[in-house]
Symmetry: C2
Subunit: 203 residues, 2 copies
Amino acid sequence: MKLYDGGRAPNPRRVRIFFAEKGIPLPELVPVDIAKKEHRTEAFTRLNPLQRLPVLELDDGTALAETMAICRYLEALHPQPALFGSDAKEQATIEMWNRRVELGLFASVAAVFRHSHPAMAELETQIPEWAEASRDQVDDHLWLLELQLAGSPFLCGEVLTVADITAGIAIDFMKPSRIPLPEEFAQIRRWHGELSARPSWKA
Amino acid sequence: MKLYDGGRAPNPRRVRIFFAEKGIPLPELVPVDIAKKEHRTEAFTRLNPLQRLPVLELDDGTALAETMAICRYLEALHPQPALFGSDAKEQATIEMWNRRVELGLFASVAAVFRHSHPAMAELETQIPEWAEASRDQVDDHLWLLELQLAGSPFLCGEVLTVADITAGIAIDFMKPSRIPLPEEFAQIRRWHGELSARPSWKA
């Protein structure tokens, strides 16, 4: 296996943290420099026509793109610890929270980054109105997280799941997107502090 | 079980088609009229704070929201036919295509609908610039689908998977979003015609 990796970008980090939480050693890493547009070369486009990172290349040449597809592949090969849940209800609940966070907070923060950060102006056609509308959504998404975290140590109960990785990375992504995390989100601060202290978070 | 249902809206249809393709009888349906803003009542907000449809309420009172979480719950309870794939590589490939289509074509068409359709003006703060940027993306997403469908009858091979349901619904959703499907997409037309003829598609 080879992992085409994008350094500090959020999705490559999600996958490396997932490897670390599963206790699976990272495969050979192939660094792809997004700032140098290496994800837009012809060779990389053959691996992933969407020109996105990360991509896991299997030994038979299959190229798996999409962060969650890569994580599910690892979960199927190495079921323990179960980061996508065990029984049907637990799996569905974790999927629900992972999606709520990914399509909500994560997507809004990413839209602010892509459509307002000066460094992205060269890679994207920026729409300032969309950046502002997305920024306005962030508070609601944070409250959803805050209330859920008031009831348990992690988003879906007593142990870390893939939903916590997605949510934690979304919070990290607020910094380069220049969105402050208000003081009032005490549960998020408690949980994010604990996440950041895990060895996996350095991945 | 009870399924809080939103009629012709795309996500409720995805779940009903999934039930039909699995051969699982639909549970009690609770119609929620989006046009009458019934998804924004206090009672419904308790079920799903994001005020979105569908929601599957289990007999123990658990409310499962998010289309894909509901579908995965059904897949875990009734593994055959496997609409999310069987072995690790198949599951990851189907997840990759489902996400490519959902975060690509489906999301772009939905953005055009939400940000440009007159009927949505009352429910959304519309940003015409975002509708136009999303409309400009649709062709690229269609080409990705077209090329993939040139190689096999369905998106991930010889049999229908959840990725075909997502993609087929995205194509259906182009009509109310007022996006024509150009003649040149012959593979999409072939495949979408076959999908539409399946009994499940009437769900």
